[in-house]
């Protein structure tokens, strides 16, 4: 398949592995920030191909995984209101909140529909004018422009029954938090590809400058990841950390100005509640005052029971890279994709689900 097979070429892969082996003289610890990178790494067995000097950790870059329990509870509470249709990306369905999940709420007759894009949610709003249609807006900078576009469309087309529960989060601020926490000593970060297609490479520049950590923006194919690891190892070996783009076919230094313009128009930076980390100032997005009437948080009054965290679940530690799924007592014994305790086991891009599915803990 064109534009895919080129990036899975075995011969080139072998050359990149050989290059990494040649370059790498001392241990390096790298974090793949993005859940998509974790899955691609596991699915292709990339960790096995790398020399023992290169350690790879999974990061918090899975929007489902970092959604806090309180926000899951809120989504469920909204879905249980009369005359409401909740629309959501599929991965959110099974995430357990404090008391229930969207999946269970659906079985108990709440009207919850899986959509693939905000356009589908808008269409459901058009088709059901007597209902309030709420889109559960999770995601990073990748998803934010599509939600912004939907809000603008709803305004232009006077779709008055469309609402967004805005749970959007920003990547560079949370990277800063991880580095400030200092729980793990990182040499380099495999930076997210799709997020960077929107924001460009400049927002990461503080990382090499202030923390001395190497950054390479990577695509999601095996060769993309191997190339990024090679570039990171080279930077570390040279002792000259900087921000580089390995994913040149997708990312420009300035990002996507049109998408950034849409985000800027509709959203403003706000605090956000991150699972495992807590409320982080200036790490999320909320609707600007002009678009407040689309904000589900403001439009609907819901009663919330106190938030409960699952006992023994270490998703928070895993998201910060402090622990791996194999360190979790619940992993595989109690927690599985069929009976997930925490969100990292639910999302297809969660570290626990990837470890479970691709059997990394079996070596």
């Amino acid at each position: 398949m064109k534009f895919i097979d080129e990036y899975r070429d075995v011969e080139l892969g072998g050359k990149l592995v050989a290059k990494i082996e040649r370059l790498s003289t001392r241990p390096v610890r790298l974090m793949e920030f993005c859940g998509g990178h974790t899955v691609a790494t596991m699915r292709n067995g990339i960790r096995q191909l790398l020399p023992a000097t290169v350690e790879m950790l999974s990061g918090p870059g899975c929007p489902v995984c970092v959604t806090a329990n309180a926000d899951i509870d809120k989504s469920i509470a909204l879905a249980c209101l009369p005359d409401v249709i909740v629309t959501t990306f599929g991965d959110m369905m099974k995430v357990p909140g404090s008391y229930s999940s969207l999946q269970r709420a659906r079985a108990e007759m709440a009207d919850i529909r899986i959509v693939y894009s905000t356009q589908d949610a808008l269409q459901i709003a058009r088709d059901n004018p007597a209902k309030s249609v709420i889109f559960i807006g999770i995601g990073f900078e990748t998803t934010a422009p599509t939600i912004a576009a939907a809000v603008l469309q709803a305004e232009q087309q006077r779709i008055e029954n469309f609402f967004v529960l805005c749970l959007l989060k920003l990547c560079p601020p949370i990277m800063k938090v991880l580095l400030d926490l200092g729980e793990i000593k990182l040499d380099g970060i495999v930076c997210p590809g799709h997020v960077s297609a929107i924001i460009g490479s400049r927002p990461y520049e503080f990382i090499p400058r202030d923390y001395g950590v190497a950054c390479v923006i990577s695509g999601f194919e095996p060769l993309d990841i191997l190339l990024s690891v090679a570039m990171l190892v080279e930077q570390v070996e040279d002792g000259k950390p900087k921000v580089e783009i390995a994913y040149r076919r997708g990312v420009k230094a300035d990002g996507n100005r049109q998408a950034l313009g849409l985000m800027e128009k509709v959203f403003e930076v706000s605090s956000a509640d991150w699972r495992g980390i807590g409320i982080v100032p200036a790490s999320g997005l909320k609707l600007r005052k002009e678009y407040e009437r689309f904000d589900a948080d403001q439009a609907f009054a819901i009663e919330m029971k106190p938030v409960r965290e699952a006992k023994g679940c270490i998703c928070g530690d895993i998201l910060r890279g402090v622990k791996t799924p194999a360190d979790c007592k619940l992993f595989r014994r109690v927690c599985s994709p069929e009976n997930p305790v925490g969100p990292c086991m639910v999302s297809s891009e969660g570290a626990c689900a990837a470890y479970y599915q691709y059997g990394v803990d079996y070596g």
Binding site: G90, S336, Q357
Partner: protein, 334 residues
């Protein structure tokens, strides 16, 4: 406006009889069915295989087939995978009021086409009509009876170390074709469902080799789940090579887009065979001559290592575990 099915069509009244006589009997005609007694009565001898399955696919029409074709092929394939020659099917319809007669006729016609192609007769049936909302347009149950020729012993527990794994063609076609039609996920894709009766392919394979140990059609849960079932039932390890598994480009593209792994996507016209090493090439060559097996490929082998597990050698030269499907396939979000 199209005539529609009413609750009265299922009430046992004159309307019920008319429906059966006009819409079911003529296309499916055969002497056993035409008697319209409470049971079909026939003679039988030998080892029997008996299976049943219910079909609730949504939407009921999809690229490459419909729920009727699926209901016939699915049950025929279940019989064939036991090494049986399928002979007779039952056909039970649960119809939601409001289905159009036009839709019903199309489905009965495709049931007939699939049954004729596979030399199987529908010899008994039933029709019920339920209130709107009590079913989703149409559910079909089929049961099937087949006869197992002497000397055939096929089971998921029969895989032996050294056996080769043969896959009859591209994977994921059915799942992606159906998924492409769902609300909220509509996308245009050139792939058609592979829904097909495989009994003739199987009988050709069994004529070629007496050392076919396991056969299974990788339906829900896909190829990965079938291989895991073999590994667990036979208490052996299985190693497959990613490179050897045929996948249509359009299925790969849709999987890339939706975040699926084709190994877990459903098939309705494919089979996996575990065959003694010495006979594998011979069986493969025979399969390639059949319309439903021309893309067949030897994808791996049975080992005595990592018992109960399936390992895949990736294109990049690493290996990873291929587990069973966990939960429901959902589209990814970023």
């Amino acid at each position: 406006m199209d005539e529609t099915i009413l609750l009265a069509h299922g009430s046992g009244s004159r309307l019920s009889h008319e429906l059966i006589e006009k819409n079911f009997l003529p296309p499916l005609a055969n002497p056993l069915l035409a008697k319209l007694d409470d049971s079909a009565v026939f003679n039988f001898s030998g080892r029997l295989a008996f299976t049943t399955d219910s079909y609730v696919v949504n939407p009921i029409f999809f690229p490459g087939g419909d729920i009727g074709k699926l209901a016939v092929c699915g049950t025929i394939n279940d019989l064939a995978m036991s090494g049986a020659t399928p002979l007779y099917l039952s056909l039970s319809f649960i119809i939601e009021e409001g289905l159009t007669l036009g839709e019903l006729n199309r489905i009965v016609a495709s049931i007939n086409a699939a049954a004729e192609e596979s030399d199987v007769k529908i010899i008994t049936g039933d029709t019920k009509v339920v209130n709107r909302g009590s079913a989703d347009k149409l559910f079909i149950n089929t049961s099937g009876i087949g006869i197992i020729p002497k000397g055939i012993d096929i089971s998921g527990a029969n895989a032996r170390v050294g056996d080769r794994i043969i896959l009859s063609g591209t994977i994921g076609d059915h799942g992606i074709a159906v998924m492409s039609q769902r609300e909220g996920l509509k996308f245009s894709v050139s792939v058609q469902s592979d829904c097909a009766p495989l009994n003739k392919l199987v009988s050709q394979m069994l004529e070629t080799s007496s050392r076919i140990h396991c056969l299974r059609d990788p339906t829900r849960g896909g190829l990965a789940t079938t291989l895991n079932e073999f590994a667990r039932q036979s208490e052996v390890g299985i190693v497959i090579e990613e490179e050897q598994i045929p996948v249509h480009d359009s299925v790969r593209a849709a999987c890339e887009l939706l975040g699926f792994d084709p190994l877990y996507v459903a098939n309705e016209g494919k089979l996996v065979a575990v065959v003694a090493c010495d006979d594998a090439e011979k069986v493969l060559a025979k399969m390639k001559q059949n319309h439903y097996g021309y893309n067949a490929s030897i994808i791996g082998k049975v080992t005595d290592e990592h018992k109960g597990r399936v390992i895949m050698k990736t294109r990049m030269g690493a290996s990873r575990i291929v587990d069973m499907l966990s939960g429901e396939l959902l589209p990814r979000i970023c």
